[in-house]
Amino acid sequence: MNESNLNPPPGAAPERSPSQPVLPTLPAAVFADTLPAPPPLPAAAHAERSLGEDPGDRVPIRGALGVIEAVLRHPRRVVFHLNQGSDISRLVGLLLLVALGFVAVYGAIVGSFSGGEQWWAAPLKITAGLAVTAGICLPSLYIFACLSGSAARLGEVAGALGGALALATLLLIGFAPVAWLFSQSTSSVAFMGALHLGFWLVATGFGVRFLKTAFRHFGLRSESGLNVWVVIFLLVSLQMTTALRPLVGPFDQTLLPPAGEKKFFLAHWMDSMEADGRKAPARGAAANRGD
């Protein structure tokens, strides 16, 4: 770099005439003072503020309503309080309680399709299923997070997972009126299963987004490990719906399927669709009077 911070023109330097006075080279500081400051780099302009910088991050989270408000509108507030470490167990407990409460309500909607024993069996199994899924996936989430460079402790990881589940189940409550209406007017188990599955996938998508936001603040270097975990979580939750069957269809004498009837969830779906297809013509004749 030349002294004046300006590049010389290309080609050979022109010869100086003898009458031309020798001018001193301008110091770089002249340009620094006279040229306007460059605009900030886009990355710097949009850089995320660190946790706690925004006063909204520090607002205490009180009660179930505080948790709902925080996970929905201020996810950074949840992350900030998890990061602070004080009273973390209360916050994690609240997040999980909200998630389990919401999923129990949604479970009742699922059970309303068949009614009878399913009014209590479906919410019970779905709530227990979510708790078990979270419990068995938590250790691997911690491992994947740490392997990806996150400095989160187990409590913070549990809180992030609790927050993701609280958000996902809150969204399920939003879907509940639609699910209820379809439950009351549909006779196809396969259709209802697919509808609930679609709602669960949408809700999980938003939950995963919350989780990634939380882990970005916990120092995650790469998201690839977290993405692998998301696949594991989805597989476990889908298999859980088969392991705890029937959730949508009528109650089948026992709470869980017999030990000899273990199935992979894809096989169960195929069986359900085939069974549904056999009933479809009779049902179609009654329902297709759409004038």
Binding site: L72, R73, L167, L170, L171, I173, G174, F175, P177, V178, L181, F182, Q184, S185, T186, S187, S188, F191, F206, G277, A280, P281, R283, G284, A286, A287, N288, R289, G290, D291
Partner: protein, 241 residues
């Protein structure tokens, strides 16, 4: 654009039709029970008039039923999805309150209902000029096709206009972020279509088949759903499906 003659608080149809986003955003932020009542009245009148015109082809009772059912679908969709729409807004980047999201959706439905209401005299005129519905009559097929095409065209026009206005409003509320507004509009459209289509299925018939009795709800109203019916039709067309 700000309407100079418009009271920024009192709800009126003009700014809604003109899509004066700033005025509408003002209503949404200062929403009152009075606003809700006016919108409900607008939906009841507009969609009710259109439903009556549509149903009058079959019988006067059918006109009365459709006049009740069409506004009911719009209102039940807005109410049933109020929580979900309210949750989707902050999740998709627009920090609207539950009430504000409900107001925005209700307003777009009210706009659609107003347009339908404006077309209802034309619809009534069309019905007056169509041959009466008689079971097995050959001219019914042509008349039914004309009626269906007109219905689709009018409802599509009302729906597209209402959604364009809703997009403009969301764009304004999102501070110019087009991506956020479009994302939220698509999400709202998807969930409202899902609920609305099923409500329409349950509350059928609106015109009424000439071979079937005039009823408020069919006896099998709660059996099956729109998508299941579509699937059954596909199964009948391709048995191996």
């Amino acid at each position: 654009m700000i309407s100079t003659q418009t009271d920024p608080v009192t709800f009126s149809l003009g700014p809604l039709l003109r899509g004066e986003a700033e005025v509408i955003a003002g209503w949404i932020t200062r929403w009152t029970a009075g606003h809700t009542l006016r919108q409900v009245a607008l939906i009841a009148t507009g969609a009710g008039a259109f439903g009556a015109a549509m149903g009058s082809w079959r019988a006067p009772e059918q006109a009365a039923f459709a006049a009740v059912k069409l506004p009911l679908i719009l209102l039940a969709t807005a109410a049933g999805n109020a929580l979900l729409n309210g949750l989707l807004a902050p999740l998709l980047g627009l920090n609207l309150r539950l009430r504000e999201a409900f107001a925005a959706v209700l307003m777009s439905f009210a706009l659609a209902a107003a347009i339908l209401g404006a077309f209802s005299p034309l619809m009534a005129f069309l019905v007056w000029n169509l041959p009466p519905l008689t079971p097995g009559a050959a001219e019914n097929v042509t008349a039914y096709s004309v009626m269906l095409l007109t219905l689709v065209a009018v409802i599509a026009f009302a729906g597209v206009t209402a959604n364009v206005r809703l997009l403009q409003l969301l764009h304004r509320l999102a501070g110019g972020a087009r991506g956020t507004a479009a994302r939220l509009l698509l999400a709202w459209l998807a969930v409202n279509l899902l609920l609305g289509s099923q409500l329409s299925w349950i509350l059928r018939p609106f015109i009424g088949s000439p071979g079937l009795p005039v009823e408020f709800l069919r006896a099998e109203a709660w059996h099956g759903n729109f998508f299941e019916s579509l699937l059954n039709t596909l199964r009948q067309l391709w048995p191996e499906f």
